[in-house]
Symmetry: C2
Amino acid sequence: MGIRERREREKAELRQRILDAAQHLITEEGFAAMTMRRLAEQIEYSPASIYLHFKSREEIARELCELGCGKLLSKMQKAVAGKDAAGRIHALGQAYVRFGLENPETYRLIFMEDEAYMAAAFGNQSEKSAANQAGDLLLGAVQEYLKSIRRRQKAQEVVQLLWATLHGIVSLHLSCTGFQGAPPEELAALATGLVVKGLAGG
Amino acid sequence: MGIRERREREKAELRQRILDAAQHLITEEGFAAMTMRRLAEQIEYSPASIYLHFKSREEIARELCELGCGKLLSKMQKAVAGKDAAGRIHALGQAYVRFGLENPETYRLIFMEDEAYMAAAFGNQSEKSAANQAGDLLLGAVQEYLKSIRRRQKAQEVVQLLWATLHGIVSLHLSCTGFQGAPPEELAALATGLVVKGLAGG
DNA sequence: TATGTTATGTAAACAATGTTCAGTAAAATA
DNA sequence: TATTTTACTGAACATTGTTTACATAACATA
């Protein structure tokens, strides 16, 4: 009899509805607006019911972070298609920055809200998480580029620098809303360009 | 009669004690630990009394941010003494990163806790805030360097990129506590070095 | 010295948060 | 139909930041 199957399906559907509502609230009004009571209101259940599907508010956030990282990874994967090493570095930078601009609240949640979320994204180093795979994309491009210019330089260090730079560009843009300088895409292009040139020359 | 003077002095002293206690709590246990009740406990007054000196918890935080920015500025000012343009860029990067490492919770508060604090730090563009002065230090060095290599490039853009990069290095280091890569000073040196070389070459 | 005024301080309450738990109603099973 | 399991919720708890009505002490004035 398919009764159990049906109930499991219903349960999974409700869980998904919670996640959808959470994502929606965060996208529209930011993480702080995603309270358990507003979430409950959205799905038309009591607040306590949410705890039948998630251990805590933080667990919901963590799951959304993983989904967000997946989205970022897929953007970056599409960006590298059919390009040489330097071109991939540039394209990855643009993809990263655009993800941040198009999904500001999701970006905030993953990288700026709580170190725990970010640590979780990079944490599972045994099973390659989406964030780690994104890092590998960057690492591959940098390694190939360093090889092509016959330069001995720790690729990991360059990757860390690039990621930090891109993160800095996005996070300052999202935080300093008043201050309007050069657009993030332009800064990212300048950054990747200078890294590429700087490594080649000298 | 010096009665009014004495009372004003006492009031200012209590206000300062609140700030000190707040700074201490933040330094030791982070911003979240700085609750009005714990603050009241520290100064041995009731929570409501704090509101006789500050409009809100946020106002206390903002004032600590300004103090923090002043500290950062003074570090950066010392760093540039008696150096050429490229040397100043390097030294400013090192000073910035070290400030973040030595005052992690203060750095968090200013740049990572709430965009409002950071916006406030950069906001008063009429009266030059400490943060703005720090930016000017960087701008001066970059302008002089660009001139010395006869390169036409928007100095403001390079400053933005440098600041974003340094912020990215520090904030990723503070957030990704688990992940241990290259030390921030090394990354900052690499960053400033690549910018300097990248601008010169090509 | 007595009285009025002002500054100082606090207890208690309010609204909002995440979370827990006892209890209930419904559904599945026997 | 009776029993057990599951799904669900109302009410409460411990926290927050903040406000308000009230008390008290210190001061100024007559």
